[in-house]
């Protein structure tokens, strides 16, 4: 990866905005909140090969918040897993870039979208890694909303009980879920304390601080217990009029005006001049 992780995250956000605009699709808020996590993972942490997505010794990324797939698809395309132009096909009839993470897409380990599945899958892969004495690690990116799901906590017990120290969970702690703030819908309270009490190593960091992300991810996956990193994030991060606004769980920056405003704000937040929108590049016939 030649880009700095900051630039990588900027590009993920930019592409995700354009994708949801074109497809008139939801979930941009959660894509923007998780962009830095993905940028640091794919930019610096994950041992993966874009030219060989099924490389047996790869690190596994379980992207459990499959609704934020635009960020994942953008990260993978920017990382060379498939052509960047293909992002323009997101949501188009008959293409593989469908509206939740799909394992038909190179680099996507699991199809996700129904919440609460990812941690169990990650446990199975971590367990298999241990039993095969493989060196690869498993990272699972969860939304905070999916901590409502009981299956997540079944797996939290499992991972600690079996000492899956090759497993690291990153919770995208944006504090929002579909209908409101997590603390108003079904209070999660102190997530670190909960995972700690289950026997996990935990860390709480600023999920937009790349130094903190890199340090905590590099410190994870050692000795004895699984790690949970609670990454405090802002839903809609990078676009001021979307930041911490619940409506952007659903809304799309559907009009060109809204998209341009969003891209301008995003560029401003990075101190960039806005780049031309790749509206024509990779455009597919209807």
């Amino acid at each position: 990866m030649e880009l700095s992780t900051e630039e990588f995250a900027y590009q993920i956000r930019r592409h995700a905005l354009v994708m949801v605009h074109r497809a008139d699709s939801s979930h941009i808020g959660g894509a923007l909140s998780v962009a830095d996590i993905l940028a640091v993972l794919y930019g610096r942490v994950l041992r993966v090969r874009s030219e060989d997505p099924e490389w047996p010794d790869r690190d596994r990324l379980v992207f459990s918040k499959g609704h934020a797939c635009t960020a994942l698809y953008a990260a993978l395309a920017l990382g060379g897993f498939f052509p960047l132009d293909e992002l323009a096909s997101y949501g188009r009839k008959g293409t593989r870039l469908l509206g939740h993470a799909s394992h038909e897409v190179p680099g996507v380990e699991w199809s996700t979208g129904s919440l609460g599945h990812g941690l169990g899958l990650a446990c199975g892969q971590a367990l298999a890694g241990k039993r095969r004495s493989a060196g690869w690690r498993v990272f699972a990116v969860l939304s905070d909303g999916e901590l409502d799901e009981g299956s997540t906590w079944e797996s939290a017990l499992f991972a600690a009980h079996h000492g899956l120290d090759n497993l690291c969970v990153i919770v995208d702690r944006n504090g929002q879920q579909a209908l409101g703030r997590t603390e108003d819908v079904l209070a999660l309270g102190d997530i670190c304390a909960k995972f700690s009490s289950f026997g996990w190593k935990t860390a709480e960091i600023d999920g937009h601080d790349h130094t903190a992300l890199l340090q905590s991810l590099e410190a994870a996956v050692v000795d004895g217990a699984p790690t949970c990193i609670v990454a405090r994030t802002i839903k809609g991060k990078g676009v001021r009029f979307m930041e911490d606004r619940l409506e952007w769980h659903y809304r799309s920056p559907k009009t060109v005006d809204l998209l341009e405003r969003a891209l301008q704000e995003l560029a401003d937040s990075y101190g960039h001049r806005p780049e031309p929108i790749p509206l024509s590049g990779g455009e597919l016939p209807e």
């Binding site: 129904s114 609460g116 941690l119 169990g120 199975g124 367990l127 298999a128 890694g129 009981g150 499992f158």
Partner: protein, 309 residues
């Protein structure tokens, strides 16, 4: 059946180091030999079936061959969406084993009954549904399931079921096994009701009616070659199962029949009605309650045969 399963599992684990048993806190002493020999390939996942099914999918994606074992209602519906998405959507080679299906745990009440597991798992693309008819079919089914690429549900009874086969049969998933020939009526039986189907055929023989009896161990994919043959060769085809009439073997055959009408034969279905069985009583009592016994079914078949002439 469960003892045969445990014994065959131990044998296949010796041959294939990818085999891994996950239990939902079920199988007290049953797997002692397996655990003794392959302890590192046994895991009691606790009473946490959704998590367990996810773990199985994760292991399968990494090339292991997990077998998930618990009581039938809990290895199917309790983790239903994990089966649909994690296992079937990704077409992973996970063998899901449900013990005590149908009325095996009749006395324990509807929490432990499964009248709907076959119907439920038959719905998912990639899934094969296999209901062995005796302990020897269990052994063959486990091996066939492990040979198959993709998920398989194996539906077991409990213990001490009558034996039908003399030796472990050749069992191909999706191909019925003809146990007895007869030209007057064809009985397709799946799972633990198979010995009862043979006893029914005995009663029919006493009335001068010769029944073919087929172990239709695979409900999905259905043996459509067999169906094409028997619905043309006979006037009456009978389905038997210890499962609800909705969506099981009889339901599946009825779907096939609707799509392939007209056929020479009519279909007569025996199974469980659309209701909860909430009375105390063991499996034998429950079977009697629902008429899944040889004399009742033989009488039903004779009546239907008179109707079809």
């Amino acid at each position: 059946m469960r003892n045969a399963f445990a014994s065959e599992l131990t044998a296949v684990a010796a041959e294939d180091s990818r085999v891994f048993l996950l239990s939902g806190d079920i199988g007290n002493r049953l797997f002692n030999e397996y655990k003794q020999r392959f302890g590192e390939r046994f895991m009691n996942c606790g009473v946490a079936e959704a998590g367990m099914m996810g773990v199985a999918a994760g292991m399968a994606l990494c090339g292991l061959h997990p077998i998930v074992y618990t009581i039938a209602p809990f290895t199917t519906l309790r983790c239903y969406e994990q089966i649909k998405l994690d296992v079937c959507y990704h077409n992973l080679s996970v063998v899901i084993v449900g013990v005590g299906a149908g009325l095996a745990y009749a006395s324990l009440g509807p929490t432990h009954h499964t009248f709907e597991d076959v119907a439920a798992l038959r719905l998912f693309p990639n899934m094969a549904v296999v209901c062995p008819g005796d302990a020897l079919e269990v052994r063959a089914a486990l091996r066939a399931a492990l040979r198959r690429s993709g998920p398989v549900y194996i539906r077991l009874g409990k213990k001490n079921e009558p034996r039908v086969h003399q030796a472990v049969p050749e069992l191909t998933i999706g191909r019925g096994i003809i146990l007895r020939e007869g030209t007057d009526v064809c009985i397709l039986a799946t799972g633990v009701i198979l010995p009862t189907a043979l006893a029914t055929a005995d009663l029919l023989a006493g009335k001068g009616v010769a029944a073919r009896v087929v172990s239709m161990h695979t409900v999905k994919p259905l043996d459509t070659t067999m169906l094409e043959d028997v619905f043309q060769s006979y006037k009456l085809v009978v389905s038997m199962e210890e499962h609800g009439l909705i969506g099981g073997l009889g339901g599946g055959v009825a779907e096939w029949l609707a799509d392939h009408a007209p056929q020479r034969a009519l279909l007569l279905r025996f199974g469980l009605p659309d209701e909860f069985f909430h009375l105390a009583g063991d499996q034998e009592y429950a079977r009697l309650h629902y008429g899944l016994v040889p004399d009742v079914m033989a009488a039903g078949i004779l009546k239907k045969l008179r109707e079809v002439g």
